[in-house]
């Protein structure tokens, strides 16, 4: 009897530590953010008494913040698209290549993750700045007269984020392609398909789960990125995550900061759900 029930509860016991950890450090804080976002602003304290919808009214009523969330989403979309276009061929080569340099290439792909985020972002400021390596080289070669604006704008943020998140796109797609039986490609060739057709008709649809996972990861990570956008965007271009931290830490507006944070999270969540619905539909229909 005792052994019987302990057997039955064994799976529950096994997931209990992770479940408790998640509840205490993720679910509870989230709930507290939700509650916080409805509180009134405080005078001399993080929040005042009572509850209000004013924080959301301010968020949705202010074109500054709406513009900012639009810009953040745009950065997310462009980074995801850039990572997909740059990452897919690399993932394909890593999955199917026979070169002895594959191990090295794998290491290069992972390398952005091996460097701390702050160091990496400072590295990008050295490269992208008006007096940075890229602009000076281009001017030295006489290709441009004055520095290209690569820092303190959306372009700079996109470049740096694409670099960091590329591995998160490449790895799931690579493993999806590795899971595709190579004889399918031979079969398609024997039926008269060119290389491009094989990629479009066989590899792309069958690696869709990997593409979907990679896109979601990259998109979500770009939306929530903080260090890179704040270092490269500076005070001129702010993403939503930067504004959230500003509100929470710099100006001490916990309720409003919470509303901003939830606004970003919900928007991102809705897009991810719509995206996965849509992609699943297309590959089912294929």
């Amino acid at each position: 009897m005792t052994t019987g029930s302990s057997h039955r509860h064994a799976p529950l016991l096994l997931i209990a530590p992770a479940a408790i950890l998640l509840f205490v450090f993720l679910v509870l804080p989230y709930l507290s953010i939700v509650v916080m976002s409805f509180r009134t602003p405080g005078q001399g304290s993080p929040y005042g008494e009572g509850y209000t919808l004013a924080n959301y009214a301010r968020f949705f009523g202010d074109s500054f913040y709406l513009g900012q969330i639009a810009n953040t989403l745009m950065i997310g979309f462009i980074c995801t698209l850039a990572c997909l276009l740059l990452g897919f061929p690399v993932a394909w080569q890593l999955a199917r290549g026979t070169s002895r340099l594959r191990g090295l290439a794998y290491g290069v792909v992972l390398s952005p993750l091996l460097v701390g985020i702050v160091i990496r972002s400072y590295g990008w400021t050295i490269l992208l700045g008006n007096n940075g390596v890229i602009n000076r080289s281009l001017m030295g070669l006489g290709l441009i007269d004055r520095p290209l604006g690569l820092m303190y704008n959306t372009l700079g943020i996109v470049i740096a984020l694409t670099h960091v998140f590329l591995p998160f796109m490449i790895l799931p797609i690579m493993s999806a392609i590795q899971g595709i039986d190579p004889s399918l490609e031979s079969a398609a060739r024997s039926l008269g398909a060119s290389r491009a057709t094989i990629i479009r008709r066989i590899i792309l649809p069958l690696s869709m789960p990997g593409i979907q996972a990679g896109c979601i990861l990259t998109f979500v990570l770009s939306l929530s990125a903080y260090v890179t956008p704040s270092l490269i965007g500076g005070s001129k271009v702010k993403t939503m995550a930067v504004s959230v931290v500003d509100a929470l830490v710099d100006t001490f507006q916990w309720p409003f900061g919470s509303a901003l944070a939830l606004g970003l999270a919900v928007t991102g969540g809705v897009i991810v759900v719509l995206f996965s619905r849509f992609t699943r539909m297309t590959w089912k229909a294929n």
């Binding site: 039986d181 004889s183 399918l184 031979s186 079969a187 398609a188 060739r189 024997s190 039926l191 008269g192 398909a193 060119s194 057709t197 008709r201 066989i202 649809p205 069958l206 590959w283 294929n286």
Partner: protein
């Protein structure tokens, strides 16, 4: 319709020579099997015909035209893979349509052709299923249909029955052979299963170590194998030493050995008294209680349903294997007589 001619075909992987200058001429509509143990070069040869492997040297001609530099997708071949390689994200009809779409066949004609081939493989009612919803045998038939629907010049099959269970495998042998005859397509079939090669092929090419050991009809291969290796690969065989007794008038020699007399052709101008190695199939030997023949003792017997396998010891101490129908059975230790008709022996050319 296509005649395939393979000339001095060679494939090297670094220093390893996988296929060493083989030449075969496959007639239009012929069903030919490449038979051999794994690593003999049969699959590499098939891949070179298909265009999946580069050719190190030699020629592959389809109706006289060398296709060595033609990429696989333009060789117009139909190929059936060992693991079927059906596209998992397409229905049966989608799989069949793929090759036709590549050939830009008009929609109406496409549907007609798919329907006709599906009917041929008896899968008409499964057109809208996905491969994962089909059994192994059904998937196999879809793979065959997909290769045939494009009406290719030649059909290539790479161990297509290896993943099926024994009963289905035998059914599929007949099924594939039937369809191949009806369509009349030139076919190359790779297998390591000698029974498969025997029952399906017009001709069998036996390969060892990248070379052709023998090429001939199934009965030639089985009854007149050119070497011990071929004889042993396509079935059991008894080897024995015999002595030349006399040269007969019609260019044959009479031999004597532990099992009695043999009469074989004499291609090497053997002289009287010379010792030669001959081979004899276990089922060519008759076994009885009273004779005729030499006396022997039963060492072991194995029952396999339709056949009995015996190992016997002859009076001179040598051992032979005998295969008979189990109508009459003998037990270990029984004394019996064995006899083989003189014309069932053959001389091994590379014998010492």
């Amino acid at each position: 319709m296509t005649e395939v001619s393979i000339e001095q075909l060679t494939k090297d992987y670094g220093t390893h020579r996988a296929v060493a200058g083989i030449s075969v001429r496959i007639r239009d509509g012929e069903f030919i099997s490449l038979l051999g143990p794994s690593g003999c070069g049969k699959t590499t040869t098939l891949k070179m015909i298909a265009g999946f492997e580069d050719v190190s040297s030699g020629a592959i001609r389809f109706d006289g035209r060398d296709v060595v530099n033609v990429p696989a997708e333009r060789r117009d071949i139909g190929m059936v893979f060992q693991n079927y390689a059906l596209f998992p994200h397409m229905t049966v009809a989608g799989n069949l349509a793929f090759g036709l779409e590549m050939r830009k066949v008009p929609k109406v004609q496409m549907q007609e052709r798919i329907a006709r081939v599906l009917d041929m493989v008896q899968l008409t009612s499964h057109a809208d299923r996905y491969p994962r919803q089909l059994s192994g045998g059904q998937q196999q038939r879809v793979a065959l249909a997909r290769a045939l629907v494009i009406e290719p010049k030649i059909l290539l099959l790479d161990e297509p029955l290896a993943n099926l269970d024994a009963k289905l495998r035998e059914e599929m042998r007949v099924f594939i052979r039937d369809i191949q005859r009806r369509v009349g397509i030139t076919t190359v079939y790779v297998t390591h299963d000698q029974a498969e090669a025997m029952t399906m092929s017009d001709r069998v090419v036996v390969m060892f170590g990248g070379r052709i050991a023998q090429c001939g009809s199934p009965s030639d291969i089985y009854e007149k194998p050119s070497s011990i290796e071929v004889a042993q690969f396509v079935g059991q065989v008894n080897l024995m030493t015999m002595v030349v007794e006399e040269r007969l008038a019609d260019d044959r020699v009479r031999l004597s050995g532990p099992l009695g007399e043999a009469v074989v052709p004499n291609p090497h101008a053997l002289r009287k008294g010379e010792r030669v190695t001959v081979a004899l199939r276990p089922e060519a030997i008759d076994i009885s209680v009273t004779g005729p023949g030499q006396s022997a003792t039963v060492l072991s017997s194995h029952y396999s349903g339709s056949l009995m396998d015996y190992r016997l010891q002859l009076a001179d101490g040598s051992r032979i294997d005998v295969q008979t129908f189990p109508r009459q059975r003998f037990a270990e230790g029984d004394s019996v007589h064995v006899h083989a008709p003189a014309d069932r022996y053959w001389l091994l050319e590379d014998a010492e």
